[in-house]
């Protein structure tokens, strides 16, 4: 086990090293990673307190819609909750776990561009995603789909069975948005070959899955909007009622096409944009033999040789870059500054343009202006530092033995500490993970 592997573990699997992190990892990078996914690491009380729970967030949302007060309480709750998350990511001692959770939050994207869910997204991450990323995918999927952020984002909260009591009385009906994205983005993917009839059928199956208004429970099953009768999805029959939806999600979550799709995305995130087939196959097989055990998949991943290949092949996304920069510098920014920088660099958190989430390939991020903005942001953050550290020390503590000679020489040859830091943080090497 080499010092290179320690740096690799913190950059590829983690969120970029904090000062001293490479020494903590020491001679056992795989052990360092395994320890983070042995159990769900705790969330600091202050972070949990900054993010309203789902019921409170729903109350904030309904109040905002009714009274439209200024400042907008939904926006304030978003900034407080998600801002606190960025601070947590910038300091956590279990960065592999958080990357793993962030990966799943992106797979099951919710975005405040639709559904007025800004107040709900931090709870979505903390309560629906994070506690479930080491268990079965079935459990994670169920928690994510039933969270009010998802039910509102993809419009299921107001979808009504045409033959339900409410549908008959009010002449209202289905919204197939969530059902389509469950099939296309969350589980099977189009490769599985489902039909429009399957989309409509799943939409009927999950009618009635809605939110409290507001109440002590964020999720409610509204029997009076649920489409009566059995439904058929991919040739299988699912019963009427809430349990029909749970059974359908469990069926989809454990489908071989789903495991294959998830394995491809995991390998793309942790290995390469165009992941090697052997790695995809190994992860899919592990998911299939463990009933979709995500913790087992994460443990397998750590042991895959391909995940340790150098040079680092993945381009950091804007969020990756800002978090890694904050970690490298001992978190010099406040919540609003971190949040703002990630947005200006092109990845406003929980605000993806579409439900397929943020792209996970370099070609989507490596556009000319986007890349120049990254470079210039390095100048902006370094200008904020009151007491800039020695750039050579920061280089040793971040890229460490992975730093190439040219980067090392450009950093140490800079005309000032600040300029050396800018060159390091804006360097192509620092853009990789």
């Amino acid at each position: 086990m080499s010092a290179r592997d320690a740096a690799h573990a913190t950059i590829r699997f983690g969120l970029g090293p904090r000062p001293g992190e490479l020494a903590e990892v020491g001679r056992d990078p795989r052990g360092w990673l395994a320890a983070q996914i042995a159990a769900i690491p705790p969330v600091p009380e202050a972070v949990r307190a900054a993010a309203p729970d789902a019921a409170t967030a729903l109350a904030i949302t309904f109040d905002q819609q009714r009274r439209q007060p200024e400042p907008n309480p939904v926006r304030e709750a978003y900034r407080a909750g998600v801002g606190a998350l960025t601070g947590f990511w910038a300091t956590t001692e279990a960065p592999f776990f958080e990357r793993w959770a962030m990966f799943w939050a992106n797979h099951l994207t919710v975005s405040q561009r639709s559904g007025n869910i800004g107040a709900l997204v931090a709870d979505y991450y903390l309560a629906a995603i994070r506690p479930n990323v080491l268990g079965r995918f079935e459990t994670l999927l169920e928690a994510a789909i039933r969270h009010p952020a998802m039910l509102r984002y993809l419009d299921n909260a107001t979808s009504i069975g045409p033959n339900s009591q409410a549908g008959q009385r009010r002449n209202r009906g289905l919204n197939e948005n969530l059902a389509r994205e469950i099939l296309e983005l969350h589980t099977l993917s189009p490769a599985a070959g489902y039909t429009q009839a399957d989309v409509t059928s799943l939409a009927r199956i999950i009618t009635g899955w809605s939110t409290g208004n507001p109440g002590p429970t964020a999720f409610v099953f509204r029997a009076n909007t649920h489409e009566p009768g059995e439904k058929t999805l991919l040739g299988r029959t699912f019963p009427e009622g809430e349990e029909g939806g749970l059974a359908a999600l469990a069926f989809l979550a454990n489908h071989p096409a789903t495991f294959r799709f998830l394995a491809t995305k995991i390998a793309r995130h942790f290995i390469a944009d165009d992941p090697p087939e052997a790695a995809v196959g190994a992860i899919a097989a592990r998911l299939a033999t463990t009933g979709g055990d995500l913790g087992a998949a994460a443990r397998l991943l750590v042991g895959l040789e391909a995940a340790w290949a150098v040079p680092l092949a993945k381009l950091r996304t804007p969020a990756d870059l800002v978090i890694a920069t904050c970690r490298a510098l001992g978190d010099p920014l406040g919540d609003a500054q971190r949040l703002g920088a990630i947005g200006t660099l092109g990845q406003p958190l929980f605000s993806a343009p579409a439900p397929n989430g943020w792209p996970d390939t370099a070609d989507a991020w490596a556009a000319p202006e986007a890349t120049l903005r990254r470079i210039e942001w390095a100048g902006t953050i370094v200008a904020r530092l009151s007491d800039p550290p020695d750039p050579r020390a920061v280089l040793d503590a971040t890229l460490g033995p992975l730093a190439d000679r040219a980067t090392r020489s450009a950093v140490s040859g800079a005309e000032s500490r600040r300029e050396g830091l800018v060159v390091l943080l804006a360097s192509p090497a620092f853009q990789r993970r």
Partner: protein, 407 residues
């Protein structure tokens, strides 16, 4: 092109020479319609063509849309009349004025070859210009075919293609090196830091060309727009940001040695719920952007054709949540002085239940590629053969649509 000290420092001297080229290059350029402009705006999310351009005289329209149908022209909040059959959404008053002055047209019941209902596959096919996802887009390949030197140019030269926005959409990826423009957000670095970084990036196979393109584009934009051009992208609303971006794109396209082909993208059209209010905002943003493009283009507007296209239309019937779900046939908007305006074109398939695609969607009667081919042929001077093989591979059965552009 102003060639100042900054340009020289950034290694952009080639910029100043771009207008000269080789004798052979000049001859080739002289044969091209180099003053014509082509702009494509991607409307992401699946624009509801029946709400944007309502067939108010179709007897089935009001039955299908019920309370969500646009009021007829002349009524409060009513559609803007397009000649007795169709009415334009009232959020697009600027486009309506262009239509009346003969500088805008619509093609209705349009779809590319994609017949699924996934946004992501639909956009990939639309941007690829093919019946599958390709690694690049038709607009880039059109640039490469019209200006072959763009495909090989190592340094700045005169980029003919422009992606306006922080990212480059698939539509504009491909063999031709293109310019990219977005409003500046952070102060520029010192020359010294930039020089050190340029050395590191030059050795990077992925990011090296990207940074070189970005710096070349910056230098050009400084000349065409003035230094520190435009407000930051995150300042103000999405609507004002799109307007600023479109204005800048128009001014870059207007520059004597500027790009001639540009791509922009706009989201917000996936209106599954509360469509009336969401769509009004998104269409107003498009309307503002078109007006800003015209303003930025100035006199060059007369030689410009703009196409605004979307991945699919939406269901004919409203869904259960005051919105519409993913459908098939939709609309394409055309604008610019080169467009034969003042008409809604295409073949109207009707909205009666038996006339719908799969019993739920507007049946497509015009292939989006037929529209795109007509625009590329007229604005970039490419032959039908090149269009059917290099630009829209596998599309020889789809002929360019006639009559879209002024003769």
């Amino acid at each position: 092109m102003r060639l100042d000290r900054r340009g020289l420092l950034l290694g952009l001297s080639a910029f100043g020479l771009a207008g000269f080229g080789t004798a052979g290059g000049r001859a080739a350029f002289a044969a091209l319609p180099g003053e014509r402009r082509l702009v494509v705006i991607i409307l992401r999310g699946g624009l509801d063509g029946l709400a944007a351009v309502a067939p108010y005289a179709d007897p089935s329209y009001r039955a299908a849309r019920g309370e969500h149908a646009l009021p007829e022209p002349g009524r409060e909040g009513g559609a803007l009349d397009l000649g007795g059959m169709f009415g334009l959404h009232p959020a697009m008053a600027g486009f309506h004025a262009l239509y009346r002055s003969g500088e805008a047209a619509i093609v209705h019941a349009v779809a590319g070859p994609y017949r699924g209902r996934s946004h992501f596959d639909g956009q990939d096919w639309m941007e690829s210009g093919a019946e599958q996802r390709l690694s690049g887009g038709w607009l880039n390949r059109a640039v490469a075919a019209a200006w072959p030197s763009e495909a090989t140019a190592r340094s700045s030269a005169s980029r003919k293609g422009l992606a306006a926005g922080l990212n480059v959409p698939l539509l504009m990826k491909g063999p031709a090196r293109i310019a990219n423009h977005a409003p500046q957000s952070f102060p520029r670095l010192s020359e010294d830091a930039m020089r050190r970084l340029a050395g590191l990036y030059a050795a990077d196979p992925l990011l090296g060309p990207v940074v070189a393109d970005g710096r070349a584009g910056r230098a050009f934009a400084d000349g065409a727009l003035g230094q520190g051009h435009g407000p930051a992208a995150n300042a103000g609303t999405e609507r004002s940001a799109f307007r600023s971006l479109a204005l800048a794109a128009g001014r870059l396209l207007a520059a004597a040695d500027g790009p001639r082909v540009a791509a922009l993208e706009l989201g917000g059209f996936d209106t599954h719920a509360l469509q009336a209010q969401r769509l009004a905002g998104a269409l107003a943003t498009l309307d503002d952007g078109l007006a800003a493009l015209k303003e930025g283009l100035g006199g060059a507007w007369g030689q410009t054709a703009v196409l605004a296209m979307t991945e699919f239309g939406r269901t004919v019937a409203a869904n259960g949540t005051a919105g519409t779900d993913h459908g098939t046939g939709g609309v394409a908007f055309l604008a610019g002085g080169a467009v034969a305006g003042g008409a809604v074109r295409g073949t109207w398939p009707g909205l009666a239940p038996g006339q719908l695609h799969e019993g739920r969607d507007l049946a497509p009667t015009t292939d989006l590629r037929a529209i795109a081919k007509a625009l590329v042929a007229a604005q970039l001077g490419l032959s039908e053969d090149v269009l059917a093989t290099a630009v829209f591979p596998g599309s020889s059965a789809v002929s360019p649509m006639r009559g879209l552009l002024r003769a």
